[in-house]
Amino acid sequence: MSETLNPLINLGISCFFILSLRGLTFPRSAYRSNLLSMIGMSLTLLWMLITCTHPFLVLCAIILGMIIGIFVSQKVKMTDLPQTVAVLNGCGGLSAFLISTCAVLEENLDILDTPISAVIGIFTFSGSIIAFAKLQGLIKKNFGNLNQLLNLLIFIILLLTLIEYALHPDIQGFLIISVLALLLGLTVTLRIGGADMPIVISLLNACSGLDSATIGFVINNQLLIITGALIGVSGSILSFIMCKAMNRSLLTVLFGTTSTHTETDSYDRKHLVKTGTPTEAAFMMENARKIIIVPGYGMAVAQAQHILRQLSDILINKYKVDVKFAIHPVAGRMPGHMNVLLAEADIPYENVFSLTDINNEFSSADIAYVIGANDITNPLAKTDSSSAIFGMPILNVSQAKTVFVVKRSLAGGYTGLDNPLFYADNTIMLFGDAQKITAEIVKTLEH
């Protein structure tokens, strides 16, 4: 009976997943979408438990994973979201690798699907671990100067061994392929710098989807293929959007060079920087009609989202200022990271705008409050064709009447570039911790 029932059940569960992703189109229906996919997943687990041969063993493993997974997900801070997603991706990848290893051990040698799913699985695993270590700050060293040909070389050898395996499948060949894919995951992610992290995270997400799909091909399961295709496409689109937002191509991120820009005349401009105090900033904000706040990763590091909400509340309610938030697609370390942090602080999503929606409004704003953001506001992206970020869409903060930039120092952002915005006539720098500075502004505004 399960032979005829299986495809129907797979179809039903796929519908849940599709509707779930569809629900994420609007913030209003987003909460429901997670419930939908949870129902889909529960049905899957239930059906597997009914039909499998060792239900007790499977149940034990599921409960063990459940305890660990729920514990981890409830413990992490919202700022640490990207690395948590990376670790979870890694778990999925390793699982896929183990499944394909088992398939090989059971002498399922003659299929090419198996080594391919093993390659993607172990690549996802090692890549995710490095991404985690980088985001967590465990690896601080920059491997940007690692030979770029190395990745290409490993990739080509990997392809050759795959062809060799397709002709003469054996366990040694499988092991060599796995080790090469593991290495490739390490070298690719080691070279990628902090600013490209949103791309890597989305890419690993896409890989974990492709994993599921290839395992689906190995064990002939439609549900795995459908779900895997959905996730693979979703991750690929996110990577594409992130690449576009940084004006990079995926190939240059993976195999290309990270261009190092030599700072030219920035040195003698340093004394032209205007600095201000939080009290001055508060005074100007009080009298403004429209303020646009531009948060960046520095805001997340300083955990300033809650105090930022107090600032916007007091400006809106007490001083009747029009306050909007502008979010660049690559602000933060994963797609949509800033939106989640602002949501965590209960900032209404009606006040939060994306780059394309708000970029024309800077010219009508009295104040742009740039907090912990750097490269995404750098005018060099428009003016200097030799710059590493040339062509990347930026937020036009300098069009506002006055720009306040909250920053610890004049140091460059993740790209290491100098930012001419800091030296502009209408820019006032507020040096210090994002949270402390904002708190002082709020304190002044309260009186």
Binding site: A61, S73, G92, S95, L98, C102, D211, G216, I237
Partner: protein, 100 residues
């Protein structure tokens, strides 16, 4: 099911995914990643299938670990998505009370 049938299923699903994902607002990209991350734990089906056929003890150990890892992926992913989306939901209520 043969390979070409599987390929048809794969490609058509990819098309569905393509049209859905382009419609998703950028502010929900982080929940999208974590929900899809949780769903990718569907690979647990493969892991359970390995346990089903386990002839040797090595394979069943590996299968057990695979099921556990996939399960971590599922429940961790859903846990995080839940926390994230709760914030988006939470906010709606606040706005409603403000209007009243």
């Amino acid at each position: 099911m043969n390979f070409s049938e599987e390929l048809i299923v794969f490609i058509l699903s990819a098309f569905i995914g393509y049209y859905i994902v382009w419609g998703i607002t950028p502010s929900l990209h982080a929940p999208l990643m974590s929900v899809s991350n949780a769903i990718s734990g569907i690979i647990i089906i493969g892991a359970i299938a390995v346990l089903n056929t386990s002839p040797s003890s090595l394979v069943s150990y590996l299968g057990f670990i695979a099921v556990t890892l996939a399960s971590i992926n599922i429940f961790g992913g859903f846990g995080i998505s839940q926390r994230m989306l709760q914030m988006f939901k939470h906010k709606k209520n606040i706005r409603v009370t403000k209007n009243e």
